[in-house]
């Protein structure tokens, strides 16, 4: 199918809009609510399952609230664990939405337009998961208002954590408002005004880099932890994020086009796969550079890396994790690098899944935990997540999928033209939809 240029946009001429009336928003919200509450049996089973997992997580969290964080595997030596690992990884997933936003809105590369709303939805879900993971990790979640500037005491700019709070919430705001605006326009069968959303998009591109760099600086800024205190940490975060995030988007798009009538062209998936491949290759180069630095002339500061990869003083709990991750990463990157395999979806999808999991391990068990081992005085205390941590984390992942499903359930009928604003015609009193063909290409 030939990409449709803006001037040939299949909507009524002159229907560029920048005014969003409360009446329309109300109708939009009502229709959105109808859309998410209706669906086939499969949809309800899926949402029911997610709800069940969320409730299990909530139950585990209630135990943690009552007993304290002692029910986790964390302690004074390994003071961050599974929660912060997941948080770090998900910031990367959220940041990856930019890889789709950039070409779609700015370079007007229409091939990505079908993917971009999905990518932004993914970012929103990932950000909610990030915030949830940070909250469950806190000892005093009830005192979180101390963080609100004005009422609490916000230690900005000194603390990188305050920067993270700002960039994450800002990014969440951008990724909620831009798709909302576009969807409400499409809902009325109108074309969104570029002068309104493009500045927002440019900011969010810049912002996406920020969220992941700032999160890396959270760790890189601690001279007390030599494993993290490296200038490569930030760039490496970006590279791994820009492979794991779009890899997830490929999987999600494949699922969506299989189960809905939302059409995504192969060429779109092919382009995203190229992004994944390049990012994964850069990530491997950086990994090699890190390994060289740690192992060619190991110093006292290489102890964490030695512990991680080979074990130290008889402790080696993380070895299986990291070697699994490295093997999976090499395998997936290998498949992606070979053109015939990458273009074959039988290979591409498993490769994306493997890459995604390998980076999840690498950013979590392979990065956050070894930063604490050995401790500041060289003592080794190992860490394994408890079932409470695992249940709570699963619950948060289920929450993310739940949010994402809701967003997609709203966006797809609008994008496929099935859900449109209904105007009341005064004369006849009968309801008519705005007259326009179902859209194939919207942004």
């Amino acid at each position: 199918m030939k990409p449709v240029h803006t001037s040939e946009f299949p909507y009524d001429a002159g229907k560029i809009t920048d005014d969003i009336k409360p009446k329309i928003v109300r109708s939009f919200l009502k229709d959105a609510f109808d859309s998410i509450t209706r669906g086939g049996a499969g949809y309800h089973v899926w949402m029911g399952t997610l709800t069940f997992v969320m409730l299990t997580g909530a139950f585990a969290y209630s135990i943690q609230l009552n007993e304290g964080l002692s029910v986790t595997g964390m302690n004074d030596r390994v003071s961050w664990g599974f929660y912060i690992s997941n948080f770090t990884f998900l910031v990367g997933v959220a940041a990856a939405a930019v890889m789709l936003v950039l070409p779609t809105y700015i370079l007007k590369d229409v091939d990505f337009s079908k993917a971009v709303l999905i990518g932004e939805g993914l970012a929103v879900a990932a950000l909610f998961m990030c915030l949830a993971f940070v909250t469950v990790d806190m000892g005093g979640p009830a005192r979180v208002w101390h963080l609100i500037p004005g009422i609490g005491l916000f230690n900005w700019p000194s603390s990188m954590l305050t920067w993270d709070v700002l960039v994450l919430n800002g990014y969440l705001f951008l990724n909620l408002t831009i798709p909302f605006y576009i969807l409400v326009c499409h809902y009325q069968g109108k074309h969104p005004n570029a002068r309104i959303y493009v500045p927002g998009v440019i900011i969010s591109v810049f912002w996406a880099f920020c969220i992941h760099l700032v999160t890396a600086f959270l760790y890189a800024g601690l001279p007390a932890r030599p494993f993290w205190n490296s200038s490569l940490l930030g760039p490496r975060f970006l590279a791994s994020a820009f492979s794991a995030g779009p890899a997830l988007i490929i999987i999600v798009l494949s699922v969506i086009r299989r189960f809905t009538d939302y059409k995504v062209e192969n060429v779109t998936i092919g382009k995203i796969a190229l992004i994944v491949t390049v990012a994964a290759q850069i990530n491997l180069v950086m990994l090699g550079s890190e390994l060289f630095k740690e192992f060619y002339a190991p110093t006292h500061h290489s102890e964490s890396a030695v512990y991680l990869f080979f074990g130290l003083h008889g402790f080696g709990g993380l070895r299986p994790w990291i070697w699994t991750a490295i093997m999976m990463n090499l395998f997936a990157t290998g498949i992606l690098t070979l053109n015939p395999l990458r273009n074959n979806h039988k290979w591409l999808l498993p490769a994306c899944a493997i890459l995604f999991i390998s980076i999840w391990i690498e950013k979590g068990m392979g990065l956050i935990i070894p930063g604490f081992i050995p401790g500041p005085w060289g003592k080794i205390v190992e860490y394994t997540p408890t079932w409470i941590e695992i249940c709570v984390s699963l619950g948060i992942w289920a929450m993310g999928m739940f949010i994402f499903t809701l967003l997609v359930k709203i966006a797809i009928p609008i994008e496929t033209g099935k859900l449109r604003y209904v105007t009341e015609t005064v004369s006849s009193g009968e309801k008519t939809t705005t007259n326009m063909p179902a859209s194939t290409n919207l942004v």
Partner: protein, 378 residues
């Protein structure tokens, strides 16, 4: 203060107005006061849990039928008060609390709820006025009394001008008796259940100084042949990374150089623990337990007062002792005299003598944290 002034819509503050009123008016006012206390007696979920744990019984809470919104309308407010009121209505609306009006609830219970409420919305200690600090510690004392029937003394004493504390550790003298650790735990009301300790004693083999190979959990006769001992604890860095990273300024360096934590303000993110190169910070992973008969009743707000679960704590150079001119408990407890403490700004202090006459060093100096904790040998 005149009569008409009293009828202004500000029945909450008690600042001494009662003395000036006729007896019958006074009793009216007390009733009104009670009611208002009652109104404000909607503590946070967390405080509720805390209270019921202290009492080992479900807390009975009651609020009047007047909503918090009325409260909002009643008086001019600052921002924090507004937030309190909003949160109150939110909580009431969400049915977090029993809404049944129960004016016959014991006065004790109502006071407790009120104090828990104030406790939750307390501001950051560092930026309080002296008066607010005083009110805060009085409240904490009262809370303890209501719970245990015992009185404690919590000080809010500020730094003494012209004082900067420093510490020196004599490696030649330490024989690994661990008396410092015992003294510290008793003085500072540390959690007995998890065996929390601020001080770590590392047993090094002679001929090397590799902390990774020096056990800190030895239980055998000391001093052990061929070994020497080094103690570590919070070094009260002049340039403390733990303070920089705290997102809510719950930890800071006082004028006299002591790095402290406001246990009421800390949100328990543990970023400071990751940032400390000296393994000095300790987190309350669960509710700390100190049997009442072992509690040290001489406390300081920033020091050894009882902590709660989910907050960070650490060595404070025994702020409750040192600001009264005494030595920290570890210095007192050490039978060999290996520990020296004093004012770095006083040229005649013992610590200054050590710095001038011994060849001293500090740990991890390359990190630029400027610890005020020196080591030396005879």
């Amino acid at each position: 203060m005149s009569h008409c002034n009293c009828s202004s819509p500000d029945p909450i503050r008690k600042n001494g107005m009662h003395e000036l009123l006729a007896e019958n008016v006074l009793s009216d006012w007390l009733k009104r006061d009670d009611e208002m206390n009652y109104l404000r007696s909607m503590p946070s979920l967390e405080s509720v849990l805390m209270w019921s744990q202290y009492n080992n019984q479900p807390t009975s809470l009651a609020i009047t039928k007047r909503t918090a919104a009325d409260h909002v309308l009643d008086k001019g407010m600052d921002r924090r008060t507004a937030v309190q009121a909003m949160a109150a209505s939110l909580m009431a609306g969400m049915g977090f609390f029993q809404t049944a009006c129960n004016p016959f609830a014991p006065a004790d219970e109502r006071e407790k709820s009120q104090l828990a409420w104030d406790d939750y919305f307390q501001g950051n200690f560092r930026i309080m006025t002296d008066k607010e600090k005083e009110e805060t510690v009085r409240r904490l004392e009262r809370m303890y009394e209501l719970n245990t029937g015992k009185r404690i003394n919590i000080s809010a004493k500020g730094p003494i001008p012209g004082v900067l504390y420093g510490y020196a550790f004599n490696i030649s003298k330490c024989r690994g008796y661990l008396e410092c650790i015992r003294g510290c735990i008793e003085e500072n009301n540390q959690d007995r259940e998890t065996g929390m300790q601020y001080i770590t004693l590392h047993e090094h083999k002679k001929g090397q100084m590799n902390f990774g190979e020096a056990p800190d959990d030895f239980y055998h006769e000391v001093p052990r042949d061929g070994h020497f001992y080094i103690g570590t604890q919070c070094m009260h860095c002049e340039n403390p990374p733990c303070v920089d990273v705290c997102p809510v300024q719950a930890t800071w360096k006082e004028e006299d150089g002591i790095v402290v934590v406001d246990y009421n303000w800390c949100i328990g993110c543990r970023y400071c623990e990751a940032a400390c190169p000296y393994d000095a910070r300790r987190f309350n992973w669960q509710d700390p337990v100190v049997p009442e008969n072992e509690v040290n009743h001489n406390q300081h707000y920033l020091g050894n007062r009882l902590r709660k679960k989910g907050v960070m704590e650490k060595c404070t150079f025994c702020i409750q002792r040192t600001r009264e001119g005494k030595n920290p408990a570890c210095v007192e407890a050490c039978p060999t005299g290996a520990r020296i403490f004093g004012n770095l700004l006083d040229p005649n202090s013992e610590i200054r003598w050590v710095l001038a006459n011994k060849k001293v060093f500090r740990l991890k100096e390359d990190l630029g944290t400027e610890p005020k904790f020196w080591y030396f040998m005879d």
